[in-house]
Structures are given as C-alpha cells and as structure tokens.
Amino acid sequence: MKPIIRKSLLSLLVIIISFSIFVLTTHVEAQDTVLQAYLVGMIEDRQNEPIVGAEVILQDADNGEDLAATETESDGRFALPIPPQIPEAVSVHIERSHFENFATPLEVSSIEQLEQGESLTLPTVTLERKITPAFWVAAVVFLAVLVLIATGLFHNTLATLIGVTLVFGFSYLGTLVSDGLFIFDFERSLQYVDWNVIFLIMGMMIVIAVVEDTGIFQWLAFIAYRLSQGRAYVLLPILMLFTGVASAFLDNVTTMLLMTPITVQIALAMGINPLALLIPEVMASNVIGVSTLVGTPTNILIGSFAEISFNDFLINLTPGVLIAFVGLVLYTAFIYRQDLREADEPSEMLMERLAERGKIEDTENLMKAGVVFAGMIVLFVLGEQFHLLPAVTALMGATALLVWIRPDIEAMIEAVDWTTLVFFLALFITVGAIQEVGLISIIADLVGRLVGESIVLAMVGVTVFSAVLSTVIANIPFTAAMLPVVAFLSRTVPGAESKMLFYCLSVGAAMGGNGSLIGASANMVTAGIADSAGYPITYGYFLKKGFPALLITVALAMIWLLIRFL
C-alpha cells in the first residue's frame, strides 16, 4: 500500500473514532441533562465567608442511609446530583471539621420537584463554629511562633517551620489519639499559601541583587552629601528622602544594609554621631515604604489578599506618607539638633576616600537595570488594565535583567533569600491553621462587635491596634493573621467597602515598625551595623526615639486616611 493511501486511511479512522466518541458523550450528556436533578446551594460561616470542602449528604430520613454526597467548592457552592429514585422522606446533612453538623429535612413538595427531574436550590446555610482541641493546639502553636520570633530564640524561618511541623504533627499523628486534634491535611493547607506573594518577593529579590552591585546606594549617599554642601541639617532630609524612596521600590532591609555603612562613613567624616543620621534614615525607610505595593512585605501581603493594585497604593497612601514624612523630618531634626550642630569641617583625606566610594561601580549594568526597572514600574502601574499580576511583572523584570546583563547565575540564585521565601510559605500554613480552626473568625467577630457600625472607630482602631502590636510582635505574621479580620470588617462596617481598612492596616503595620528596635528587620540590621562601628543602638534607645516617631507619623497618616475616605 502506498504511504499516501495508508496516511489517508489512518486519518479517516481517527476522524471516525473521534466522531463516535463525540456522539456517544453528547448522547450521555444529553441524557444527563434530561434526567439529572441537582440539589444546589451555598454554605458559609458567620462572617459570610464561603466554607470550602464541606461534605453535603442526602440521607434517607428513615434509615439514615446515604443516597448521594458531594463537597463544596472554593466559593462555598455545591451541586448534589439526585439519584433517580428517592425515598418519601429525605434529609440533607452537612459536615465539616471545626463546624457543628447541620441537618434539615426536605419538604414533600421539594422531594416531588426533585423526582420530576427539576433541580432545587436550598437557602444559604450558615454553619456554626465548633471549638475542638485542635482550636487550642493551633492557637498555642501560632502564639509560640510569635514568641519564638519576638525573642529571637530561633530564626524567623525556623520558628515558622516548627509551627508547621507541629500543625501537621497534630493533624496526622495526633488523630491517632483523638479525632479532635485534626487541624487540616497537607492538601488543604496549601490552599492557604498565596503564591502571588511568593513569586513577587522572589522576582524582586533577583532585581535587587542586580541593582545592589552597581554602587547606586553609595553614589546616592555621596550625592546627598554633596547636595547638602556639608550642612548636616540639609543632609538629614536628603538622606532620609533618598533612603525612603529607595525603600519604596526595593526592600527596606537591603536598602538599610547598603545605606548604613556609607552613612556611618559620611557621619564620621563630618564629625557627627552616625546615629543622628541612621535612626532618621531607617525610620524614613519604614514610613515611605508604605506608599507602594512592593515597598514592604506587609503591603505585598495586603495587596495580594485584597486585590489592591500598585496604583491604588500610590494614589491612596502617597499623600499621607508624604505628610507623615514631613512630620518625621521635623521630629528627627529636633531630637538630633545637638548632634547635627556638632558637624566639623570634614577631613580632606576621609572625604577623598568617600568620593572614591561614591562612584558608580558598573555604569553599564546600572543603565540596563534602570531601563528594566522603569519598564517594571510602567507594568506595575498599567498592569491592572490587562489583569497582569504584580508577581508576573516582577518575574518578567527579573528574567529580562538576567538575560540582558548575564550576571553569574549562581550568584543571582544565592542572592535570592530562600529562607525568607520558606518563611512566607510556612507562615501562610501556620496562619492558615488558625483560620481553619476558627480563631480568626472569633477574633473578627469580637472586633466587629467592638467597632459596631462606626467606620471612624474601625479605621482608627485598625491603624492604632496594628501599629502598637507591630512594635512588639513581628508585623508580617501579624498582618497575615489580620487580613481575614479586616476583610470581615470591610464587609460588615457600613461605608468600609472601598478597602480603606486595608490601607489602615498597611499604615499601622509598617509605620508601627518605628516603635521599637524589633518592630522591623531593617531596624535590627541598622543596629547591627551601627554597633559594629562602635555606636550601639539599644532597645531602650530606639524605643525612646522611635515611639514618638510612631505616634507622629501614624497620627498624620491617619488624618490623611480619614480625609481621603470619609
């Protein structure tokens, strides 16, 4: 047989088989469409949040036999296929771990409707929370993670990994002792991981790794010195502004890692106490970082959860951040007035050395990084028009930089802080555990009752509460836990629909970092480097300088938010 004939016959055979399958499946579907009736509905909790994975069972009311069963989807909806023959009395049972069971008989008219092949929609069912031993386990584990992070006994990542291990340990091994210890299974836990956050942070880390090697930070610091012409009072706001703006687009820790050593050198050359520049700088970094989606990890969490875009953050927060920044500049200039007055005529030898350090080390790469970074900003701003997620923009930017600059790929991979990414993964699961068992719902309920229907009280409450708590506990896990609470308040408090409470959370959690040394990682890094230069920043010292700064900046930003949204 000739090859062309063989190919033609084969093609014909494929077409016949495909057509047969199509006809058969269409026939089956058609039969289903005609005969199959469904019992449909939705299940939610007291906060009107859809309940995922609830088992919906149709039972024979006389003997308790299961007739059909299904599970709720991610939107809390279910569609239970009704068997062709059903008894005269049936009931619907709903079961879900960490909730009370629910059962309701179907009326005779409803059963008749189903028997005739017509689908039936049940009213929305609200399940009541059940406090199980797992509730206490998840709550204690979460608190323990916060304590481990706050005390520094373990690295943040290790602390959250311990939390995850305990959660799974109780869920899988604890159930051998008691079913009540079950929190969630591995599959369910992954539903709490926000991959948008993980990929956005990873993409930005690669971008930062390329930018940081160009010497841009050292150059900026030296330019600040030259612009000030050696006048400490002028240098202070310029350095604060440069640091703050850099923090708005890069992460605060990297910014301070690079700005602190060069700032110490500038201060020593001018004969002033480096802390008079460093403390204001790190505070500015914590304040101005709030103005963009990528400026702080807490904003990345909030933006992804509440679908707040890069533009939304810029438009709704930047004016408030600028007002807070002006307040911060005035405050820091006042508290360090004595130190700033002590500036000497700078040493010629030391200034020559500084000028050498203040040069761009890699002009070509800086130019390329600048072009790509500008493109990323454009995509961050315009991306929402065509549903481009920030994480995708960050990954595209990172890849473009890697392809264009061709840096040592090993070095770039090393520059990605994998421990931070693992920290976020583990954190999502740990926070997911307290959501799963209902702790967050109870807190949301409690906060909702305290706030009542007052939008002003809700805004001030969320801002102040998150600011104060961020001074004593790590603001990232705190923010992750607060997101569902704020979402609940946004639905229940009249007038809060425009996500204003999420902006309050953003301001409180990030600016709260200024309240204490442990309030932000950037503070710790700055303190570590300053201490290495012989200028220790103690907890008490930072608290004394930082807490008033927190009050001033949060109050000013709060005023803006009230003006903007009320």
């Binding site: 520094g152 690295h155 943040n156 880390m205 940081e212 090697d213 820790v253 990297t254 890692l257 690079l258 050593p261 060069i262 110490v264 050198q265 020593l268 050359a269 040493s347 030898m349 030391l350 050395r353 500084l354 350090r357 070095a411 090393e414 520059a415 990605v416 802080d417 994998w418 421990t419 931070t420 990682s521 710790m524 890094v525 303190a527 570590g528 480097i529 201490d531 290495s532 230069a533 012989g534 200028y535 220790p536 103690t538």
Partner: protein
C-alpha cells in the same frame, strides 16, 4: 616585623584606646597597626543571602574607621597602618598579633552591656592572658570608659 596592635571598633569607646596606642607608639617608637574585625553575627536572625555584599560593605566601613584612626595618629606624628580582618574579635586579634609579631596589643575596656561580639569582664581577663601567651605580646589596657 614588630609593632603595636590596636584593636578598635570605632565610636566613642574606641577613643581612649586609640589615644593610649598613640601614646605608647610615641614612647616606644614602634609602628602602630590599627585593626578592625568584621563580625557578621548580627545577621544571624535577619538576612542570610546578603553575606557577601554586607561583608564587602563592612570591610569598606572598617577601612574607613581604621583610616580615621590613622589620620589621628599621623596628626600626632605617629606612623600608623591599618588592617581589616574577618571573624570573631578574639581570634582576629590573636592571629593578627602573631602575624606581625606584635610587641604590644592595646585593648579597650570590656563593655558593660551584654554582647556576644565583645568581651564580658570575666572572658576579658582570660583573653588578655591568652593573647600574651599565644602572641608573646604584652597587653596594654586603655582607661575604663565611665561615661
């Protein structure tokens, strides 16, 4: 090679140490070596991927601190050199003293606050004995900072 090793951290607490070392260099006519140790223990609980970068920056800062001390010494007519090393403070001082076969090691006083990077008073006394034993140099202490 011989000389005086002066280990400094920078800041006000190093001023008496630098002054003492300059004074000793004038008396003995030996070359003064200012030493700064880069210790990255503070990164333990914060960043783990930035070690290379921050080490470079800390070296630059250490160079600058040492340069400032050198300038001060030279203003007082004392020849001074500078060195920046990595690692723990105690090991760095011993190794550098052995390397230049130092005659004297000038140290600042132990700080009051708890800090694993520097010496506690008890460890300081044993460290002084160890330096003298392992390097053959005599340890000279600067005045205790009371402020």
């Amino acid at each position: 090679m011989s000389g005086i090793v002066c280990a400094i951290r920078g800041g006000p607490t190093s001023k008496p140490t630098i002054a003492k070392a300059i004074e000793l260099a004038k008396e003995t006519n030996l070359v003064l070596h200012f030493l700064y140790i880069v210790n990255l223990d503070f990164l333990t609980y914060t960043e783990s991927s930035r070690v290379r970068l921050i080490k470079e920056e800390m070296h630059e800062m250490g160079d600058f601190i040492v340069l400032a001390a050198q300038e001060k010494a030279e203003n007082e007519g004392v020849e001074a050199q500078g060195a920046v090393r990595d690692g723990t403070v105690s090991e760095g001082i011993i190794e550098f003293s052995q390397e230049i076969e130092a005659d004297y090691v000038v140290l600042g006083s132990p700080r009051a606050e708890h800090d694993e990077n520097v010496f506690t008073r008890e460890r300081f006394e044993s460290f002084v004995a160890t330096v003298e034993e392992e390097s053959g140099a005599r340890v000279v202490l600067s005045e205790i900072e009371t402020s």
